[in-house]
């Protein structure tokens, strides 16, 4: 097990290294990405540009620049080109917002997704199933900004049920925190509810034909016991895998939702950075997001290996 985990961690570092190199290369290869020119402004004299290039080390060979940037990233001294503020600090400020958003949405989508999937599976082919299937298909077909804009217009503006965008700290006003985040949570959750309920439904339908389910029934368990303790439990494993991956990705920032509801989380920060072609924040946010994705990926793999010895044995034999 220890060897398996070690291998996974090394793999994780390699992927992160590749991601950082790619982001760096993209920004240095694509023409027009000259940061000194932009920092100097429209009227920059060649002397000023040269001075900026010198001060910020833009004249150094690319590998040197890359190493410098990585050093700054990990020591927490990374400074943005655009407004010269500390990138790591900005990300730290954004984390409570982004995490509040992701965790709340995840609670809703897992709860509702599992409920819908379960109902859909046990009522397969009937009215409930058909209705839920239609809802799920609509859910996965909605562009995020459609629900976002719809909610924003009707719930916060027209009917004034919820406050308009922005973020309220939980420690200051828990109720305000909740009302400000409820709409973004629902917006994010709708998409995933669709995917998860459909996946759970098909997994459960598959599982219902398995031998162990027949055995459980033969043992004299009630239909309900079999469904919950045997069918649902097994069918949840792939759902939890998927959850790990999606949740990891979401923790890295939900750009569109943060933008629509004016939440200045990590995603909102990334969006600002991109608009100014600001490499340091973009690098930091991408690394942060990729780290979370890879981390959750690895956690899922480890959990699987722990649950199923065949996986870790197979991998260590290969």
């Amino acid at each position: 097990m220890a060897r398996f985990i070690a291998r996974r961690l090394v793999g994780m570092l390699l992927v992160l290294f590749a991601v950082s190199v790619i982001v760096f290369v993209i920004f240095n290869v694509i023409p027009g990405g000259d940061p000194a020119q932009r920092m100097g402004g429209r009227e920059a004299t060649p002397e000023l540009v040269a001075q900026i290039n010198k001060d910020w080390g833009f004249n150094d060979p690319l590998p040197v620049q890359y190493v410098d940037m990585m050093k700054q990233l990990f020591s927490g001294d990374l400074i943005s080109y655009q407004n010269q503020d500390n990138v790591i600090q900005r990300i730290k400020d954004g984390i409570p917002i982004t995490f509040s958003l992701a965790i709340g949405a995840a609670v809703i989508w897992m709860g509702v997704g599992i409920l819908f999937g379960y109902l859909s599976a046990i009522k397969a082919g009937r009215f409930t199933d058909v209705t839920l299937t239609i809802l799920a298909l609509i859910g996965i077909s909605l562009p995020v900004f459609f629900i976002g804009a719809f909610f924003l217009y009707y719930f916060t503006f027209k009917w004034k049920i919820f406050p308009t965008g922005g973020y309220v700290k939980f420690t200051q006003d828990p109720w305000g925190w909740f009302t400000h985040l409820l709409l973004p949570w629902i917006c994010l959750a709708i998409l995933y509810v669709g995917f998860y309920s459909r996946l759970l439904r098909s997994n459960m339908l598959d599982a219902m034909n398995e031998d162990y389910v027949r055995t459980a029934k033969a043992k004299g368990l009630t239909e309900r016991q079999v469904r919950i303790h045997h069918v649902l439990r097994l069918s949840l494993i792939p759902i939890i895998t998927l959850f790990g991956l999606d949740f990891g990705a979401l923790l890295g920032g939900a750009i569109i939702i943060e933008y629509i509801f004016s939440l200045n989380g990590v995603g909102g920060y990334a969006f600002d950075a991109v608009a100014h072609l600001d490499l340091p924040p973009l690098m930091a946010v991408t690394m942060f997001g990729a780290f979370l994705i890879v981390l959750f990926n690895t956690l899922v793999d480890i959990a699987y290996a722990w649950l199923d010895p065949r996986i870790r044995l197979g991998t260590s034999a290969a």
């Binding site: 027009g32 298909l137 217009y153 219902m208 750009i255 991109v274 991408t286």
Partner: protein, 364 residues
């Protein structure tokens, strides 16, 4: 998509399904039964799925709607997709009305052929723009799905058939693509290219900063892992089959086996994924354009129309909601049709489901 659901048509319970299907007369004694190809069987199953066909019809209707853009623009609305009418007035119920009134609020949707769906802040006809924008959105969706299918299938075939280092390299590359925050990567690339002014030079081809091919290539690449992994998985199972062994024994080279023997067995997967991926690609295009990094103005797309409208959402919500609704309808039609296609091509999934439903009916 476990294993190779489409790999072995002869052993599929196709024969069983025929017997169970209504309206298929069983052949009288002494008359040879004509062979029915898996494609024919799939088509017949699809034809009976009225919901899937209905949504396929909806998709075709949307495509036709968008193709009719020049007709509508020329003969009904008498304006182009980018023509601004900031100071114009039109007559509604005998009253002259501003297209964009002096306080900046554009005309809303209503029963007037010009500006059927209202105007936007610049006085552009939303209906005309919606039709032209749809062309771009659909074009990007289809082309991106094509790019990702070609790349994903080719890489998946090579990785699955050659295994060894080819597999390792491909799969690690997929891991890296997978690890990228998709939207962020796409935004970064397209912003950088758009800002460059000169566009992206790939060898001797130059892609302009406002070319539709930028979102197409970005979307095409970021979604490659989805297809590549599935194809690879199927190829890993298929390559152990006798027909591959036979092909090797005949002295066929790896390329001929991959594209001549294995590829035909992957068609059903590819087609299903292609349909669903047009939907995914259109959603991502919408998201990119909404964030201002997909289709560049003045060129329209449903995503950037919604984006333009978002700034005036409180006064003119229709500017966001109408294009967003079009995206939803298109994506929904593709998703439902794709699902029907999957059921038709993988009858086992459907049969399981029906068996389950029957068991339920018979149960307590």
């Amino acid at each position: 998509m476990a294993g190779d659901p489409y790999a072995e048509p002869p052993t599929l319970p196709g024969g069983g399904a025929i017997a169970g299907e209504a309206g298929i007369p069983s052949a009288p004694e002494g008359i040879a039964i004509e062979g029915r190809s898996p494609t024919y069987l799939a088509w017949r199953r699809l034809r009976r799925n009225k919901v899937a066909l209905g949504f396929a019809g909806l998709f075709i209707a949307i495509v036709l709607f968008c193709l009719a853009a020049p007709l509508w623009a020329h003969d009904v609305a008498h304006t182009g997709p980018d023509d601004q009418h900031l100071t114009d007035k039109i007559t509604i119920h005998g009253n002259p009305t501003y297209v964009v009134d002096p306080s900046g609020i554009p005309l809303g949707p209503g029963l007037h052929w010009k500006y059927l769906l209202g105007a936007d802040q610049s006085g552009r006809d939303v209906m005309v723009r919606l039709m032209y924008g749809g062309r771009n959105s659909l074009y990007i969706g289809i082309m991106a799905a094509l790019v990702m299918s070609v790349l994903g299938v080719a890489l998946g075939l090579i990785a699955g058939y050659r295994r060894g280092w080819a597999d390792a390299v491909t799969m690690r590359t997929m891991d890296v693509i997978w690890a990228f925050p998709v939207l962020l990567l796409a935004i970064a690339i397209s912003t950088a290219i758009a800002a460059s002014g000169t566009g992206l030079r790939l060898g001797f081809v130059t892609i302009a900063g406002d070319s539709l091919w930028i979102p197409i290539l970005i979307i095409g690449v970021v979604y490659v892992p989805y297809i590549c992994r599935v194809v690879r998985g199927e190829v890993l199972a298929l390559r152990e089959k006798e027909f591959v062994e036979a092909a090797v024994a005949q002295g066929k080279g790896p390329l001929r086996i991959m594209f001549g023997e294995l590829l035909p067995n992957l068609w059903s997967t590819i087609i299903v994924f292609f349909t669903l991926n047009i939907a995914n690609a259109m959603l991502l295009e919408a998201a990119l354009s909404f964030l201002g990094v997909g289709v560049q103005p003045p060129e329209a797309s449903w995503g950037n129309m919604a984006s333009d409208g978002f700034s005036v959402i409180y006064s003119s919500p229709h500017l966001v909601l109408i294009p967003a609704l079009m995206i939803m309808l298109t994506v929904l039609s593709l998703n439902v049709f794709g699902d029907g296609l999957r059921d038709a091509l993988d009858p086992r999934a459907k049969i399981r489901l029906e068996a389950q439903a029957t068991a339920e009916e018979a149960g307590p």
